[in-house]
Symmetry: C2
Subunit: 250 residues, 2 copies
């Protein structure tokens, strides 16, 4: 296990860059939604969506690499707000929340469309999901929840392992908190390997769910979904900062 | 929602007092194990165990009261180490880990007893669980895991709610991170109420599991279990501090 004192700095920097990229990507996505509906619009939107997925994959790869040296830091990151940390599932968002978001967007667009229809106007495209798309999303939801539950079970097992050998015997025979113990270090390193591997699996599930969702949506719906997803993420961070500030955390 | 800037201080103080009490209680429990096996030993041990449960209940009551004003802080406490935070289930230990601990202690005592038996000596009493006790513990385990799963479902629901109304619509129409929005505050306060209520339920499950486990054990077994539990908790905190220090976190 690496012991660099700069771990925290690197982790924080990786996250800050990602949040900044989210803002840049959001601007680009919003800009793309203003493109006129000509022949190559869908191609251009698809390319943009693929670029966003690539950014997410690169971020995941980088944090997976960093987490191998210090996995615990990712389960309650110091660089996230308390509000965000209270919403974490295995160091990130729940993959099923992508699906919940699409349903929420679909519902809210149908609602606003009714008003616009009466006024002769129209907005986004997530209110126009076909029955085939809804069926695919429903299948994706069932599959995702099942895989989430499986990984939650792995997490539960790893958390319970702490109340078992070798930790229990080491703690029992421990004479004091400050003593140095090679057995503890080895046992914790071994346990951390399991945690890092589970984190990678959870990240893979997040990516694959996102990709599958996007493959179900039309290019303009996918952009609409990514816009809402990034806005929600950025807002959650901003709302959390405000609450942390109010409670004396900076 | 209260807005005292001293929230963080009060929460931290509550935790530090609890950790100190754990050390004091541990000394008292260890002292009690040296009592000679006369007629009133079991009565004295039982009284001590009840005192420890009362301390736990008082701590839970205090943090439940504090968490109503700032529940997010308890899901990744700044006063805990990253190692501890990565092991959290709804802002505390998994109730099922009490049972896992008893099984681990039982196993390790049977192992060490074999050596001692051959040497004509003996140690703790958790290696002497009767088949009736093992059956009761097994029933308690099934029941606890079921209740844990139920609460995990409540947590999943609350986490997914963030990707739904009203948050999605507020985020979507948000013009920037710094804007003030009464709708956000109300929605987050409402959501926090659900989180605080779930935290109280999880704490009640922790207490009831602990009490039921103790009611199954003999007084000396219960003391043995509490000693191991407190040692493990104190060691985890100490091990986590060491790792945080190594990774540049203080």
């Amino acid at each position: 296990m690496a012991t660099s004192s700069g771990d925290q700095g690197q982790q924080n920097c990786c996250f800050q860059k990602w949040m900044h990229l989210q803002e840049v990507d959001l601007s680009e996505l919003l800009q793309a939604l203003t493109l006129s509906e000509n022949g190559d619009r869908d191609v251009r939107l698809s390319q943009l969506v693929q670029k966003m997925i690539k950014h997410f994959e690169e971020y995941i790869q980088q944090r997976n690499r960093l987490s191998r040296d210090d996995v615990s830091a990712y389960f309650a990151p110091a660089w996230c707000t308390s509000l965000e940390n209270s919403m974490l599932w295995i160091a990130g968002c729940r993959p099923s929340s992508f699906i919940r978001l699409v349903y929420a967007l679909c519902g809210s667009e149908i609602e606003s469309r009714l008003t616009e229809f009466l006024q002769g106007a129209r907005t986004g495209d997530l209110g126009e999901l076909t029955s085939a798309q809804l069926s695919d999303i429903n299948t994706l939801q069932s599959k995702t929840i099942k895989e989430e539950e499986q990984l939650s079970g792995v997490l539960a097992g790893l958390q319970e392992d702490i109340a078992d050998q070798p930790f229990v015997v080491i703690a029992r025979t421990s004479s004091g908190a400050s003593e140095s113990n090679g057995d503890v270090e080895r046992a914790l390193d071994e346990h951390a390997k399991g945690m890092a591997s589970m984190l990678e699996d959870a990240d893979q599930l997040r990516i694959s769910t996102l990709k599958e969702m996007i493959s179900i949506l039309t290019p303009v719906q996918a952009v609409d979904f990514l816009v809402a997803s990034k806005k929600l993420h950025l807002c959650m961070h901003a709302w959390g900062l405000k609450r942390d500030h109010r409670h004396g955390r900076e």
